[in-house]
Structure formats: structure tokens, C-alpha cells
């Protein structure tokens, strides 16, 4: 496709043509299946690019972009005590989260180790899942022995 055709179709999609130019081009498109196909592809591509970029732009900036920027723009002596309460809370939670997550992980590993040690007391060799979760060994026969 010639650059000129592509340009005219893009202008049509973006509403950059005068009403007369748009009407002329629409008549031309009606007569040409190739132009119709090209317009549809361009419309789909145009939409895909815009929606993709917009969706990613919403997640692209880290929190408190404006606050961080204003701090960078503020001269050093005036920078003290400039963080907003929300940003303080956010960074405080972030600081708190790491040790809590680490302690939780250590606790889980501790329980798993304890269960594995304890499970060695059973006669039957337990599976890894039974050992980690401290489940008693259950066979098909013992399952049917349950009192009804």
C-alpha cells in the first residue's frame, strides 16, 4: 500500500479529514475491497496498539510518582519532612511486610521440619505430603474400618 493511501485511511480513522475529503474517501473505499480490507486492518491495529499501551501505562509508574518527583525538584535543605502521610504509611507497611513474610516462612519451615521428625515415629513409611502435613498414614483397609 502506498504511503499516501495509508495516510488518508489513518486520517479518516482519527477524524483528521474534512467532511468532503472523508466522503470522497468513503466512496473510494466502497468501490475497492482492497481498501476496505486495509481500513479494517488499520482500525484493528490502531485499536490494539492504543489499548495495549494505555493498559500498560496505568501500571508503569511506581506509587507516589508525583510526591517523589516533587521531592527531586525541591532543593535539598527544604526536602526534610516533605513526605505525605499516605506515603509514610505505604513505606512503613512495606518495611513491616518483609520481616513478617520472612518470619511466616521460617515458621512454616519449622512446622514442616517438626512434622517430618514426628512422622518417623509411625510404623508405616509416610509419603512426603503425609510427613510434611503430619497426616497419619491411611490405607484403603483402615479407611473401611471406620465405625458406621
Amino acid at each position: 500500500m502506498k504511503p499516501d493511501h495509508h495516510e488518508r485511511l489513518l486520517r479518516l480513522l482519527q477524524g483528521h479529514l474534512t467532511p468532503e475529503e472523508a466522503a470522497d474517501l468513503r466512496r473510494e473505499i466502497d468501490r475497492s475491497p482492497a481498501l476496505q480490507a486495509e481500513l479494517e486492518t488499520l482500525r484493528a491495529l490502531h485499536g490494539l496498539l492504543r489499548t495495549t499501551v494505555r493498559a500498560d501505562a496505568e501500571e508503569a509508574l511506581a506509587p507516589f510518582f508525583a510526591d517523589r518527583l516533587m521531592r527531586r525538584l525541591t532543593p535539598a535543605p527544604q526536602r526534610l519532612a516533605k513526605t505525605s502521610p499516605e506515603e509514610e504509611l505505604f513505606s512503613g507497611l512495606l518495611r513491616l511486610f518483609r520481616p513478617v513474610a520472612l518470619a511466616g516462612l521460617l515458621l512454616i519451615l519449622g512446622f514442616a521440619a517438626y512434622n517430618v521428625t514426628l512422622s518417623s515415629a509411625y510404623d508405616a513409611a509416610p509419603s512426603t505430603t503425609e510427613a510434611v502435613l503430619a497426616l497419619p498414614p491411611v490405607t484403603l483397609a483402615t479407611a473401611y474400618e471406620a465405625e458406621l
Binding site: L49, D56, A66
Partner: protein
């Protein structure tokens, strides 16, 4: 506040140029810092949004040059060419939204930066060819030919996905 009003637009321009990465936040900050430092040169001939977009494109091109220098240390020319000519997606593959977005960025990233800048301004930001030419300091015809080439490549890489999208709809 000006930053809050334009931060998403600036982020969109930078994301389109660089792809989603941690670098986007840094470049977006640089854009506003550059804007504030050059405020006395801003004569109001363009809108603030246009002025910021122009800075965002220039900062992104700088970031791409830095990225290219870093890459050059690790990749030989052949490796880089192989990476860029890799097809953007497999036509038979059904893709989820995240994967589609990743592939769209991969296709955009495979365009040469100069073509990418034209494509971003013209097709994503919606500036006219005249405005794009003015913002990039290029002749009108150069914008047209770069856009045409960028469009042809994106069309070739992303058409399978466009068809899949039409089938889904």
C-alpha cells in the same frame, strides 16, 4: 496539579517507546524535571501536553541509545539481528491478555527507534503528520515513509493476532 494531570499521558508515551519496565518511571521523572527546568523557554506555542510528549520522545530515544550501548557489551551484532527478526508471535497460539500485550510490545520494540517514534506519535498519540514532523524536526515526506514502513512491519507481525481477535469478538 500538572504532574497528576499529565503523568499517565507521559507514561503512555514512554511505555510505547521503551516497553513496560522499571526504566519507565525513571524516564517519566526525567521528563517532568526537564520540563520544569525549561519552563522559562516554554513560550506557549504548543500545548503543555504536546511539549511534554516531545520531551518524552526525546528522553525515550536517549534511554534507547543507553540501552543499545549496554546491550552491545553483551551481544554481538548477529545476536541482535537474530533477536529483532524473530517473529512476533505464532499464528496458531491462543493468547491471554497479558501475553498479547507482551507480544505487541515485542513487535513495537523490533522497530528501529526512529520509526518507532513516528509510529508512537502518529498511531498511538494521535498527532497529525504535520505535528509529528514538527515535533521530531523531520520533513513531512520522511514521516510518511517511516510511518508506512513501521505500519507494514507491525501489520505483518501482528495480523495473526488481529484475526484471532476478530474471531473472539
Amino acid at each position: 496539579m500538572l504532574v497528576e494531570r499529565y503523568e499517565e499521558d507521559v507514561a503512555a508515551t514512554v511505555v510505547a517507546m521503551l516497553g513496560p519496565s522499571a526504566e519507565v518511571d525513571d524516564v517519566a521523572q526525567e521528563v517532568f524535571i526537564r520540563f520544569y527546568r525549561a519552563l522559562d523557554q516554554f513560550r506557549g506555542e504548543a500545548t503543555v501536553g504536546t511539549y511534554l510528549t516531545r520531551i518524552a520522545i526525546n528522553r525515550s530515544l536517549d534511554a534507547l541509545r543507553r540501552r543499545k550501548r549496554r546491550l552491545a557489551r553483551f551481544l554481538s551484532r548477529d545476536d541482535e539481528a537474530a533477536r529483532i527478526s524473530e517473529p512476533a508471535l505464532d499464528a496458531d497460539q491462543r493468547l491471554d491478555a497479558r501475553e498479547r500485550r507482551r507480544l505487541v510490545h515485542r513487535a513495537i520494540r523490533a522497530l528501529p527507534p526512529k520509526h518507532r517514534a513516528v509510529m508512537v506519535l502518529r498511531m498511538i498519540e494521535g498527532y497529525s503528520t504535520e505535528e509529528t514532523a514538527e515535533m521530531l524536526g523531520l520533513p513531512y515526506g520522511t514521516v510518511l515513509s517511516r510511518l508506512s514502513r513501521a505500519h507494514a512491519k507491525l501489520k505483518a507481525w501482528l495480523t495473526p493476532y488481529l484475526k484471532e481477535n476478530a474471531t473472539d469478538a
